[in-house]
């Protein structure tokens, strides 16, 4: 059975969270490295962070971000390859991203023919 591809959308609660100190960043870096190594077979595209400002375009107009009406802001994305949604969930649950409070990751299959 071939793997499916999943889009993972990272959301974080808006508002200033406490900035990590260099020694905490060292720890985060080490965790990321370990996670990426462990799941290198699953990570198709480590993705990117999304910029803080943007625009919403609709038929009836254009609205500038930031989208303050949303409590959670989409902060980044990545794509994973996994056999099932459950497998993709395991990968995300092991990731250091969700260790920060206020962060959630939505996993959606990319439907292709």
């Amino acid at each position: 059975m071939s793997n499916k591809t999943y889009m993972c959308i990272l959301r974080s609660e808006s508002g200033d969270c406490e900035k990590p100190s260099p020694s905490e960043m060292e720890l985060m870096y080490a965790k990321y490295q370990k996670w990426q190594e462990e799941f290198s077979g699953n990570i198709v595209d480590i993705g990117n962070k999304l910029g803080g400002s943007g625009r919403v375009v609709r038929r009836d107009g254009v609205q500038d971000g930031p989208f303050i009406e949303l409590k959670e802001i989409i902060g980044g994305y990545m794509t994973l390859s996994a056999a099932t949604l459950d497998d993709a969930t395991v990968v995300i649950q092991a990731s250091p991203m969700i260790a920060s409070p206020g962060v959630s990751v939505e996993i959606r299959e990319i439907c292709s023919h």
């Binding site: 406490e18 900035k19 260099p22 020694s23 960043m25 060292e26 870096y29 080490a30 490295q33």
Partner: protein, 417 residues
């Protein structure tokens, strides 16, 4: 390049280098810019490979961020005037990467600016840990056993002082630096002892502070003015302590009594380094407290066993230490050594001759030594009462268990633990 400590080590170097360039009064904007650069690094380095020269990469990102912060706060013109560079100066936009020696020189200068007697020493300590060693206020509070609020207060006090009386880091001459050397020694010694003596359960956390202190003392030693007998003695002391740090706990993390420590666990390389610096410190007629403390540590490191320790030498060293750097704690240690040398009665006599300040009277150290000596002199009832007091004033469960090990013989009631 090994990234393990890039973040923390580069943090202090960058903060110092950039503060030197734009002025200490902007130290908080500088810290924000460096923090931003490190967040960027965390993101990019996780995704792509680490750049060939991480230090240069961080410097460039931090510098750009600093410029844009100045633009935003409209203080750029003032800054440009201060730095006598013009807006169209390309080198200002694209700074040359500082040489490693230049960065450590800045770090040292900043350390020497921080360590001056108009700032309370506990504030110097917190500022050094935060701005030069890269620890957060939360981590410092954890490491120093103080509240975050208190840590922040101490930090702000130092920062406020440095902002109000901005010293251009370059104006410090070698002789200024020499004059402040002893204050810098003291702060780095504190950084070390906070790690070494703290009763924090996590050895890794305590080790961090010790290694930081050694790194900075080493840096001083390599500078043009820092290679003094005291600096060598301090470094000797730090290595001789560090050598025995791992042996203070057994494999399950339980604290061990000194006489139970497995001496084969002591780090020979650290001992070797420590003895080397001790030898180098024995030049000129100066005997500092670091000389005496290092020689006590060396006695312990060289003794084949607890019993075969040259306790007479240690007693004499503590006497000298009480003279150079008066503290009742040295007296307490002398009493312990005296009890090993001439018996518990002699130890108790030393203890009873001491003038005990309130802070020591409330500490478990005092009660524990007192209880032990009373027991060994035969007054079991008194020993038990004092031992219970010691356990009551122990700050952590680890130490309570250690005291049980040591004082259990006094016949403690089991409920005390």
């Amino acid at each position: 390049m090994h990234v393990e400590h890039v973040f923390r080590h580069e943090y202090g170097l960058l903060v110092a280098t950039l503060s030197r360039r734009v002025g200490m009064q902007h130290v908080d904007i500088v810290e924000d810019a460096v923090q931003h650069a490190m967040m960027q690094a965390l993101e990019f380095w996780c995704r792509d490979d680490i750049p060939e020269n991480p230090s240069a990469w961080l410097h460039q990102v931090a510098y750009r961020q600093l410029l844009s912060a100045f633009r935003i706060t409209k203080r750029r013109n003032a800054l440009l005037a201060e730095c006598s560079v013009t807006d169209d100066n390309e080198s200002f936009e694209q700074p040359a990467v500082p040489l490693p020696g230049e960065m450590s020189d800045s770090l040292l200068r900043m350390l020497f600016v921080t360590c001056n007697d108009t700032i309370p020493v506990e504030s110097q300590l917190v500022f050094t840990l935060k701005s030069l060693c890269g620890f957060s206020i939360r981590e410092i509070a954890l490491r120093l056993f103080i509240t975050e609020e208190n840590a922040y207060k101490r930090f702000s006090r130092a920062r406020q002082h440095l902002k109000n009386t901005p010293v251009v880091l370059d104006t410090l001459t070698d002789s200024d630096m020499e004059a402040r050397l002893s204050m810098v020694h003291r702060v780095l010694y504190l950084v070390f002892t906070e790690g070494y003596l703290s009763s924090h359960a996590d050895t890794a956390i305590r080790m961090d502070l010790c290694v930081e202190a050694i790194r900075l003392v080493q840096l001083i030693l390599e500078s043009s003015f820092g290679d003094t007998p005291e600096t060598n003695a301090l470094l000797a002391l730090l290595y001789l302590h560090l050598a025995r740090m791992n042996a203070r706990q057994d494999t399950s993390g339980e604290l061990l009594l000194f006489e139970q420590q497995d001496r084969t666990e002591w780090d020979e390389q650290c001992i070797f380094k420590g003895l080397g610096f001790l030898e180098r410190s024995a030049q000129g007629g100066i005997v500092s407290r670091y000389h005496v403390e290092a020689s006590i540590a060396a006695e312990h490191c060289l003794a084949p066993s607890f019993k075969q320790t040259r306790w007479d030498k240690i007693v004499r060293s503590y006497e000298i230490l009480e003279h150079i750097a008066p503290s009742a704690l040295h007296g307490l240690n002398r009493a312990v050594a005296m009890a090993e040398w001439q018996g518990p009665g002699a130890g108790l006599a030393v203890l009873q001759s001491l003038n005990i300040p309130g802070w020591l009277d409330r500490s478990y150290h005092w009660h524990a030594v007192h209880a032990d000596l009373q027991y060994r002199c035969g007054d079991v009832d008194l020993a038990r009462d004092i031992a219970e007091q010691a356990i009551k004033s122990a700050p952590t469960d680890d130490i309570k268990r250690l005291l049980y090990k040591r004082l259990g013989k006094c016949g403690l009631s089991s409920q005390a633990g």
